[in-house]
């Protein structure tokens, strides 16, 4: 695979795509004898929306877990910000500025929306626990600062009306949005979205698409997403990786991918 020199391009709608921030180099991931991912390489550039698509069981979620550092591949290297990344704990990944959402919502159901979003600030809290117990003073100042960030995210995602509502009482589409809010509260430089539109109706999908584009546009956040819905992916993404049976079968702009014969075969089936 070619490693292109760092360069900056501007998209048709005026966004700036920067140099490569993350690169997968010949990744292979096996669970016992099953190869979930075989020799996959691709890169993610700063400021772009990068999609990973593929039929069921293609290895998309495994790939995302490799990016997030949850799985360590048996072969290959993950390069992040110009250096190979050693195996690390999830919280270390979070401290590197990577945040994610989950396919099956993983919120604290009994807590309010605001409290859930505040948990996204955890990596930004530095006061020791005894100070937080006393609270007055530094911990209070820190909480106010963190609350401000959370409130801006809440405003951005238009969920002010449910700020104090326990998450368990919310409909599915809103829970997804709260999860996105929690990820954004961490002010990530790389945001991973695992099937952000799964199980949504058309209107909820439209809303979510708009928020994803807005996040990318307003904060310049790099976004890597996995998605089933081809229509959504093709509209949102700058570049798309297509996987099938753990292998990469296509990589390029939505138009290139759409006309790729291997991709068409994988999605529509082929006569053997």
């Amino acid at each position: 695979m070619t490693t292109t020199a760092p360069e900056t391009t501007t998209t048709a709608d005026g966004r700036t795509i920067g140099p490569v921030v993350m690169e997968m180099k010949n990744i292979t991931l096996r669970f016992g004898g099953v190869a979930a991912i075989t020799d996959i390489s691709f890169d993610i550039r700063e400021g772009e929306i990068r999609a990973i698509i593929g039929p069921n069981g293609a290895g998309k979620s495994s790939m995302l877990n490799v990016i997030s550092g949850f799985y360590t591949p048996q072969e290959g290297e993950v390069w992040y910000k110009g250096a190979p990344r050693p195996p690390m704990k999830p919280y270390e990944v979070a401290r590197q500025g990577i945040a994610r959402t989950f396919q099956n919502i993983a919120l604290f159901e009994g807590m309010t929306v605001l409290d859930n979003v505040m948990t996204g600030r955890l990596t930004h809290m530095h006061t020791p626990i005894w100070r937080q117990a006393i609270w007055k003073g530094r911990a209070e100042q820190e909480e106010i600062a963190n609350r401000e960030v959370c409130e801006k995210v809440i405003d951005f995602l238009e969920i002010q009306h449910i700020r104090k509502t326990p998450v368990a009482r919310l409909p599915y589409g809103l829970k997804k949005r709260v999860e996105l809010a929690r990820a954004l509260a961490a002010e990530p430089s790389l945001l991973l979205l695992d099937e952000p539109m799964a199980g949504m109706n058309v209107e909820e999908k439209e809303d979510m698409s708009r928020f994803i584009l807005d996040v990318n546009d307003e904060f310049g956040t790099t976004i890597a997403l996995i998605e089933h819905d081809m229509g959504v992916v093709m509209d949102l993404s700058d570049r798309v990786v297509v996987m099938d049976y753990g292998k990469k079968i296509g990589d390029g702009t939505p138009d290139e991918v759409r006309n790729n014969q291997d991709v068409i075969d994988a999605y529509l089936g082929v006569e053997h």
């Binding site: 005026g14 409130e151 809440i154 405003d155 951005f156 238009e158 009306h161 104090k164 546009d217």
Partner: protein, 656 residues
């Protein structure tokens, strides 16, 4: 400049002058609050004056001339109120528009007034104006408030609100003399604001209101209800509506009270509770919705709480209004009421956000007597007023102690009222509008040379009390084929008093019998369906459910019985009705932006349904075009059942 020692009002000839007066008199008192990022942000009168001044200088810098029209589109935010006052400060005329209007409707208004500038709340409003800008030859610059999503737009004619203010501040030394000159030139008869009427018929008309209209009205009405500087209001009704202009600008600047803006339309109820306004206004619909939600939630409460609620509410209904009006009430009843205040009324009022309301008004439509009495029995001083844009709101209002659900009160201070021979109500006051902009014929039709204005409503002054009672729109009051009186609104209001019925349209002019379209209220009927295990997938399905139709039929028959009691109107009983498959909507042109029924348009649009109501068929298949919120159009299809309702025979009366 006006002298602050001169008695209030005298000498303050414009809203900017009142602003300066307030900044001097209560500089450190709160003028505006808005909840943003979860916290109530606060601006004092002194800060407000600085903000408005910065924007006004920025407007001059952008090239605003005296007499220009500046359209203002967005939800209630302090910044947009400042934009109106800044426009006035530089001699321009603010024209607030309904924020939920579709681009087409905006095109008419913007073109009609020839707005050179637009101040828009956010990207959504900017997009709407950009969509129609080819047709607006006068439009030069647009200012937007919320920069979100605006970065990539072509900024040659677009400006961010805060940047305009910054430029204004930067050019202060250079432009202040010009601002001073324009501000001091503002006279009592200069235009204060132009508001477009929603228009139940035809195109909207631009109502020109002068400083005299607004300030005199604000003065008289503030004194009537003893409004004062410490009062709080929640500004949540459309800025384009005259009521909001009078409450949030007129009276607020006159008395110096504080205007609170909600965080977003969805948080209105929470914000209301947090602010606890002392002066409150809402159309009947809001009171209905709140009552419905209270009742629904009470059904989920425990047995003891339900008993407590019912017991004390019954007591409140018995003595509450009398206590509120200061009438003699027995000591035991008073004690029990005080107990109820602690146990039920107080907490309930707090939950509703009415804990501190001293004066509350409802207007625009008739309010159901039960709803009205419910709030009054809790000790909330809810009153009715009657008004219109052309009168700067106030025509009649109810004084404390003389409040009833079936009248709209006595003439407001400074208003004269006359009933014409055909029953139409005429008025004359200091608040009477100047003219309809660029429409001398309509002006002449509505306002005679002596200043009397036709309201278009039929009514009469009640003997004894001197209160005005409104029957119906004069235009709508007609005759049936056999000559009996036909007053559709009267019947519709009776129907709408049922929580299950959101909207009703009665037909019957020049016909043998009356029939009706009915819209169900999704909240109330949906809750009922849930309790009774009735599954439904859509509004349409619920509206067509046989058991829903049965309920509605029972309501219609109850209304028939009540209408039959009135000899004059007994012909208006509803013989046949159907429940519509879609909610009547302003986006489809069926309602005005203030949610009044546009009878003629509905009759034309649903012509097939009206025919079916009269040709005796049991059901009808229909297709209706609907407009979605983003302006796209779609079709919904349905087969509607038509039902016959029992009517009470009124033998012999018809022939008379």
């Amino acid at each position: 400049m006006a002298d602050a020692t001169v008695g209030a009002g005298d000498g303050h000839l414009s809203v900017p002058a009142l602003l300066h007066h307030n900044a001097t008199r209560h500089g450190d008192k709160a003028a505006y609050r808005e909840k943003e990022y979860g916290v109530w942000q606060n601006w004092t009168w002194a800060q407000t004056e600085k903000e408005v001044e910065a924007l006004a200088l920025g407007l001059i810098n952008l090239g605003v001339n005296k007499g220009d029209f500046i359209a203002i589109i967005g939800r209630n935010r302090p910044y947009l109120y400042w934009a109106m006052v800044a426009a006035q400060s530089v001699g321009a005329v603010p024209v607030p528009l309904y924020q939920d209007a579709v681009a087409e409707e905006m095109a008419y208004v913007l073109d009609h007034c020839g707005a050179r500038f637009v101040v828009a709340g956010d990207q959504e409003q900017v997009d709407k104006v950009l969509e129609i800008q080819d047709r607006l030859s006068n439009l030069e610059h647009m200012i937007y408030l919320d920069p979100r999503g605006m970065r990539k737009y072509d900024h040659s004619r677009l400006h961010e609100y805060s940047h305009v203010q910054e430029q204004g501040r930067a050019a202060r030394d250079e432009l202040t003399p010009e601002l001073e000159r324009r501000r001091s030139a503002l006279g009592y008869d200069d235009t204060c604001v132009m508001l477009y009427t929603s228009g139940t018929t035809g195109k909207p008309k631009g109502v020109v209101l002068s400083n005299r209209n607004i300030i005199e009205t604000a003065k008289a009405s503030s004194e009537f209800d003893h409004l004062r500087a410490g009062d709080e209001v929640l500004a949540y009704l459309p800025m384009a509506w005259v009521g909001d202009f009078i409450f949030s600008i007129g009276q607020a600047y006159w008395t110096g009270f504080c205007v609170n803006c909600p965080e977003s339309p969805d948080t209105m109820m929470t914000d209301l509770k947090e602010i606890g306004p002392t002066y409150y206004f809402a159309p009947p619909r809001i009171f209905e919705t709140q009552l419905t939600s209270v009742m629904i939630r009470m059904e989920d409460a425990g047995k003891f709480k339900q008993w407590l609620f019912r017991h004390f509410m019954a007591h409140a209904r018995k003595v509450g209004p009398a206590i509120l009006d200061g009438k003699p009430v027995g000591i035991w009843d008073r004690f029990k009421y005080a107990l109820g205040e602690v146990a039920i009324y107080g907490p309930l009022k707090n939950t509703l956000g009415f804990g501190r309301v001293r004066v509350g008004y409802t207007a625009g439509e008739a309010i159901g007597p039960e709803i009205f009495d419910f709030y009054r029995s809790l000790g909330i001083n809810l009153k009715q007023l009657y008004g219109q844009t052309e009168a700067s709101v106030f025509i009649t209002q109810q004084p404390d102690g003389e409040v009833r659900s079936d009248t709209v009160g006595v003439p407001s201070p400074g208003v004269e009222i006359r009933i014409a021979e055909n029953g139409e109500v005429f008025y004359r006051s200091a608040g009477t509008f100047v003219e309809y902009y660029k429409n001398p014929e309509s002006t002449a039709d509505t306002k005679d040379p002596e200043g009397w204005v036709a309201t278009g409503d039929a009514g009469f002054i009640e003997e004894g009390s001197g209160h005005l009672r409104i029957i119906d729109r004069a235009k709508d009051v007609g005759q049936m084929a056999d000559g009996r009186l036909f007053a559709p609104k009267y019947v519709e209001n009776k129907l709408k008093f049922f929580p299950n019925i959101l909207e009703a349209v009665v037909f019957g002019a020049d016909r043998e019998t009356c029939t009706a379209f009915i819209n169900i209220d999704l909240t109330a009927v949906g809750n009922w369906a849930e309790r009774n295990n009735i599954a439904y997938a859509s509004y349409q399905e619920l509206a067509g459910h046989p058991r829903v139709l049965e309920t509605i039929q029972a309501h219609v028959e109850e209304v028939n019985a009540s209408v039959a009691e009135d000899d004059m109107l007994s012909g208006c009983q509803i013989h046949r009705f159907l429940v519509l498959h879609k909610e009547l909507d302003a986006d489809d042109g069926e309602l005005t932006r203030t949610r009044k029924v546009r009878r003629k348009i509905i009759a034309e649009k649903f012509d097939d349904l009206v025919t079916a109501l009269y040709d005796g068929s049991d059901s009808i298949y229909t297709e209706t075009e609907v407009t979605y919120e983003d302006g796209r159009k779609g079709k919904i299809r349905a087969t509607l059942e038509i039902r016959d309702a029992k009517v009470v025979p009124t033998a012999g009366k018809a022939a008379a």
